[in-house]
Amino acid sequence: MLNREILVVDDEKDLRTMIRSIFESAGYTQITTAASGQEALTVMAKKIPGIIILDVMMPDMDGFELLQEIRAVSKVPVLMLTAKGEAEDRFAGFELGADDYLVKPFLPKELLLRVQAILKRAYPEKERVVTLNAASVDLDRAEVIRDGLRTPLTAKEYSVFEKLAENAGRIVTIGVLCQTLCGEIWQGYETTLMTHIRHLREKIEENPSKPVSLLTVKGLGYKLVVKEPEK
């Protein structure tokens, strides 16, 4: 993931330098910058990057126009930076095919997390195996691998686990998980969710009554703690 090429398009030199510096210190190695829409298109003509970080407000060609031009030739993931207030305007770029947006002024950590999440979605690992403390889960086969033994997950367990794995390290709220389980009308299904969580723990935890991988965050939801795969 760290070797994905990042293209930063912004007319503000300081902002380009800052974003480059954020990604470099996070370990990303291939960062290209462009000062205008035209320059970005020239860069893209040579090689399509892994992700584009695009400012909406630019003098010659604004971010939305550029996005349309990009979408005409490529499905490369695009994160847009906007200077409009967050609650004031619903983001217009989604209709044009932006993958996510971030409101200025943003915190460096936010930018990193968003880009990571987009890259993870856009370029899934070849083998989708999640390594946990006591077991690992093969998402493609919906199986828990523990001490060499493979135990299948039920469809419901799988959907809950997948949601938690997608957001590994972050709390997934009860509402979001219930929605994953039951669809549109999800209110009042907390007990059903708890049953599935219990079954999941029996399959993945060393000691299901003292979970270390699938944690409960009281009142809020659940969090999956994943071991980073060794490189």
Binding site: D14, I19, A87, I174, G175
Partner: protein
């Protein structure tokens, strides 16, 4: 009753009062004239009975005038005669030459009603016949009325009806006229009320008062334009500050994390970063609060499950690198799980976010925060509290009283403290909810939001 209606009610009553006064005045004037004329006119104080008494039979069976009858008559330029039963003059005093000395019954009937040769005459029965007294020519007006009883009655009733009809018509006309004026003026007065509350109006620019309506519309539009210009200005400024602030936050964060720098330099970078973050929340608050203030922020109402909304906001904090000295406890009642209200999700999240952010900012040494969502059957009650340093009673009063940052009398506009709370209040009020703040110095800070309505 509204002031406008009260004004027109009063106006109508005063018009009716004027008419009543007018009528009364006329009655008084009429009687005054009658009395004045009666008192100042020469009246023939010739008494018929006195004259009658003075004409008596003498010993010869002839009538004679006793006393000063002739002088009496002369004084009044009058004359007198007595007719016997067959119409012959059997006594006369100062009777003009040109008048006959014999009268037929028809003559008598005529002159007793009208005139006798232009002399106004009066008749009275005398023991010897009929006493006729004549006055000076042109001294008296004599009319004779004789009408049928039913005619007279109808005439009286008719006159009363005419009088009443007149009154009713006048009152109706006044009423109609008042209504007409009211109809034309009420929208203008309402418009002034609206404009004075800072909103624009759109009155039809027709009729006699079109010009006034036009001016009022212009005044309203002018105020709205100023408001929107102010909001746009704030939005523009905050827009221009966003990019530089991103750069500041980014580099400060980098420096803070740079292990090759001395600890003191990293500490300084950390200060820059924290102040930058304050500036960041201030800018977005300022922009949103001005838009809410001038009603430029449309609410996107949808079904909102508050428990889930609150969970997401709390998780945002917990996952967003909240430092270890801060803790957030979350609590919700079983019934609140399925309770929903109609609201703007983004704004409600923002309100909750601001409350938690406030606790974080004002307790730099850390604190335990608690967020709870309870559905009590009628309302959704959100409580956000911390066990931190709290605020003084004086500060609390200020926070409770903050309703409008543009009305602030504080010359330094302490936005650092007040704006976040103001924005929460605006959002809560836009959802018809209430907000209450409780705090004591060194004893925590609590905000209770109550949103009415909703369903489970």
């Amino acid at each position: 009753m509204k002031p406008v209606e009260r004004f027109f009610r009063k106006y109508f009553l005063s018009m009716v009062g004027i008419i009543v006064l007018f009528l009364l005045l006329n009655v008084v004037l009429f009687f005054s004239v009658l009395i004045w004329a009666w008192q100042t006119s020469e009246t023939p104080d010739l008494s018929m009975s006195e004259i009658c008494d003075r004409i008596t039979l003498d010993g010869t069976g002839h009538l004679t005038a006793a006393g000063e009858l002739a002088e009496m008559l002369e004084e009044h330029h009058a004359w007198a005669m007595v007719l016997d039963d067959i119409g012959t003059v059997i006594f006369q005093s100062r009777l003009p030459e040109e008048l006959p000395r014999r009268y037929t019954a028809a003559d008598v009937a005529k002159f007793s009603r009208w005139y006798l040769g232009d002399y106004p005459v009066y008749v009275q029965e005398h023991p010897q016949g009929l006493l006729v007294v004549g006055g000076e020519k042109g001294s008296q007006a004599k009319y004779y009325f004789s009408v049928s009883e039913s005619y007279a009655r109808k005439l009286l009733v008719g006159l009363a009806a005419v009088f009443l009809t007149n009154i009713i018509v006048v009152v109706l006309l006044i009423w109609k006229n008042t209504r007409h004026v009211e109809k034309a003026v009420t929208p203008i007065l309402r418009g002034i009320e609206t404009v004075s509350s800072g909103q624009s109006v759109s009155l039809p620019e027709r009729g006699e008062l079109a010009e006034i309506n036009r001016q009022l519309n212009r005044a309203g539009a002018f105020i709205a334009k100023k408001d929107s210009a102010r909001a746009d200005w704030i939005s523009g400024i905050s827009h221009d500050v966003r990019t530089p602030l991103s750069v500041i936050l980014g580099f400060a964060g980098q420096l803070e994390a740079d292990q090759t720098l001395p600890a003191s330099a990293r500490e300084q970078a950390s200060h820059i970063r924290r102040q930058g973050e304050k500036l960041r929340s201030l800018i977005s608050d300022l922009n949103l609060t001005s838009r809410l203030e001038y009603s430029m922020q449309p609410l996107r109402m949808e079904k909102v499950y508050f428990v889930e909304l609150a969970r997401q906001v709390v998780c945002e904090f917990l996952d967003g690198g909240l430092e270890a000295r801060y803790q957030i406890m979350f609590d919700s009642s079983q019934e609140s799980e399925t309770a929903s209200i109609m609201g703007d999700e983004a704004l409600l999240k923002r309100a909750l976010y601001n409350l938690i952010q406030n606790s974080v900012i004002h307790n730099p040494k850390g604190c335990v925060m608690s967020v709870s969502v309870v559905w009590n059957g009628n309302n959704t009650v959100i409580t956000v509290s911390d066990n931190g340093i709290g605020v003084s009673a004086e500060k609390l009063d200020k926070l409770r009283a903050t309703t409008n940052h543009l009305e602030s009398t504080d010359e330094r506009l302490k936005l650092r403290h007040g704006l976040g709370v103001l924005l929460v209040r605006q959002i809560v009020e836009a959802h018809h909810g209430t907000m209450e703040i409780l705090s004591e110095p060194q004893n925590g800070y609590q905000t209770v939001l109550v949103f009415p309505g909703g369903e489970t």
